[in-house]
Amino acid sequence: MTAPCSPATTIIGLEVHVQLLTETKIFCGCLNRFNPEEPNVQTCPVCLGLPGALPVMNRRALELAIRAGLALSGTIAGTTKWDRKQYYYPDLPKAYQISQFDLPFCDGGWMDVDDADDGDETQASRIRLIRVHLEEDAGKNLHDETQRGRDSRIDLNRAGTPLLEIVSEPDLRSAAQSRRYLEEMRLLMVYLGVSDCNMQEGSLRCDANINLELVNDDGVAIRTPIVEIKNLNSFRGVEAALEYEIGRQRQEFAECGGVYADSEKQTRGWDADRGVTFAQRGKEDAADYRYFPDPDLVPVQIAAEWIEELRTGLCELPAARRQRLVDDLKLSRYDASVIIDQGRDLADYFEAVAQRCGDPKWAANWVTQDVLRELNDRGQAIGDFAIDADGLAAILARIASGDLTTRSAREVFTALLDDDPEGEQVTVEARIDEIISDRGLATIADSGALEPLIDAVIERNPQAAADFRGGKQAAIGKLIGEVMREAKGADPQSVRAALIERLSS
């Protein structure tokens, strides 16, 4: 059997779940906080599903959801309602999940995803959304991992956490693009402040639907059965699971020649350790959720004025901001992305530095290289960084004015980072002056100041001077190095020029 011939189209749609950052749960007053250490303490009759308890909608959850829907360019419904999605599982104490079925609060929408992450020629793909809806999260089952058949445990701290479900059209065309979509989604949600999207804590989760369109030996295009991969909880996992599944579906196609015994949608899990997807359930037990409107909750009217108020209150979104850095501040697409993708705080930091030092490109260089490197090394967030935007802007301003060389500026930068935060409090300008004078970093621009140093170095290194005079150009390197070590603020180009002039006289 020959392998299926290209071209093949990969068809992927993602269902992204985002936990919302509300103080309290979606239908009761319990604290909404990740707290695996103390199971079942953030619970009450409502989220425990005790007989007689009733849900009441948390308006703040709806507000955050609408903000997310607006940022995704969705259409916010004037009326929305709650439905019960019914299934039995021990982490679902009512045996139904309050969700939204046929009237989600948000219809449509889209998100643009850059096709590749290098160069300025980047094109973006528009990934359309089917809908965004709000629901309650389930609790967590904790199974005995030792396989010794101990009882499973249930933690309902998470039960009732407000959860946004964002369902894309099957517009994604590769595993890598799917990952970028998810990364961009996370960036947007964090930007909006609606979620912390912490994947380790499960506040961002993803299910993927994937199939392929392949051409069989007779030249007929055939679509492989759709597979839903459940509970992908890392960016790498999403990409790896989809890559694996593309390969698996191709191989299956090759083996069956595009003739499937069972063409129903299949659910598969992702085994991150083994790097494979595995069959979970087929159509035999395809769930009938028996959705119906929750009679305990009333339909929700969303006033047009409220929607407009929330729309007006939206911050500048990452995609727009990225574009503005390119268009207005003339950054490369790459630099703009590096800065924006780090989140709102770093972008704010960068813009403050750029504005105060007057040179966005310099600011971008320093932020994307020096600042990010230090943050990574120190495992810090920009909010905890020892050099605030004023500090970095002051350093950059001195480079621009010629008061510091780039090299010296890096030394000032490092010195500032090493300052004891509990130490004497002076203005950053004053502290920079101090460092410059302590370490003799002031730029030595006039050759007059260099002359005695140059003379001394030549005198100490007669051999190198002779070699240079004899035509050995490389010999001057040693001399430049020595002068630079003595004159910390000197600009290497000036030193080289002055040395050549002196040796040639």
Binding site: G49, P51, A53, L54, P55, Y96, R290, F292, D296
Partner: protein
Amino acid sequence: MATALESSATLLDQLTDGQTTSLRLTQDCLDRIAAHDTAIGAFLHVDSEPALAAAAAIDRRREAGEPLGLLAGLPVAVKDVLATRGQPTTCASRMLQGWVPPYDAHVVERLRRADAVLIGKTNMDEFAMGSTTENSAFGPTRTPWRLDCAAGGSSGGSAAAVAAGMAPLAVGSDTGGSIRQPASFCGVVGLKPTYGRVSRYGLVAFASSLDQVGPFSGDVRGAALLLEVLADHDPRDATCADEPVPAYRDQLERPLDALRVGICRDHFTEGLDKDVDEAVEAAIDVYRRLGAEIHDIQLPHARFAVACYYLVAPSEASSNLARYDGVHYGARSDDYDGLVDMYCRSRGEAFGAEVKRRIMLGTYALSAGYYDAFYLKAQKVRRLIQQDYQQAFTSVDVIASPVAPTPAIPLGSLVSDPLQMYLADTYTISANLAGLPGLSLPAGFSDDGRPIGLQLLAPPFQESRLLQAAAMHERETQWHLRRPPLAEDSS
């Protein structure tokens, strides 16, 4: 000596002027329960010691001159479908046997704050599903008037407790007639308020869009008093209305001028017991004599009410009762193989036949492919029934009808015929589908001495009108003063 056979107003007077105490009254109720409840089966749990302690504490506060709540030491029995902190709440089901809620239902909080003495939890059809209290997992409740007959249901225990003087007041719940029909079978006043008038928080759900909590009393004034305590806006129930609660008792003595009473002739056709027919006609004559106008009204969709109800209610029930899966609380089978088997066995063993029947009906009606034809269609019919009443209430103030086609029926007579049992709900369930307030008041007796009720319905939130109209009838008749022979024996 004052006993719980006296009206609540009389008892409050006697408590106030020192002729009796809450402790004596509570003890009297406990004595009657001890003497008669083996025969009647009104209570599932009698909270004797805490009730006596609460009564004594209220007496001390009264002696000290402290202000007391509206119920000021009156014993109140509570249907076992309402969550009571520290007292078992079983819904008369093996599924919840031994379950003690960690919280009080909103109405239970209201009762405590009004200084009621919570004397115990009353029997009912399992999860409020039934019309005779024979579906209780713990035995039926008999009407104190005829121990071979059912007290009605599903709030049979609460109705019988009031009729037998085991408590002057009781709380029930009504999803399709579960307050009004047992009130009729037991010869007491029972009121189902407007949907949303009383908080459902802590009322164990049967059918969420139909369930409503309401009062039982020996007379209209007692029902008005207890409704004043129960009715309230509760932000914990999203379906609870933010409507002011009138002082229902203040209006009671004032007759309604030019009252227009609506009669639907379809209600007086085949299947209606002759004694019931005559009693209801006699009650209508009372209104006529008082100067009311009697109007024929049309309720064209009423004939679909039973079918509509038995789709909506089981559908919601199938969902509401899904949580009883043996995982978190309640009964779990001792013997199972894996999770799904645990679900199946726990539910199979702990639910009674009627509950299972309704869960299956509802599950079927909500299934993919059937939803539109059953649940959705039923909701459309429900709207038509509501519109019928809106139309009718443009020309009348209240609608009078029988409560049930018969007086209390012999135990066991319909247990094996669920369809006939369902059809007997025909007069009461429309009020639940339309969300209207409805009241049952004593209107006579059958030839063999079984009580018969008259049902009055009013537009939403017109409980005051309903109570005023009922009081007009009560003043002209003596039915509410009769006591069942069994209760009289002990006093």
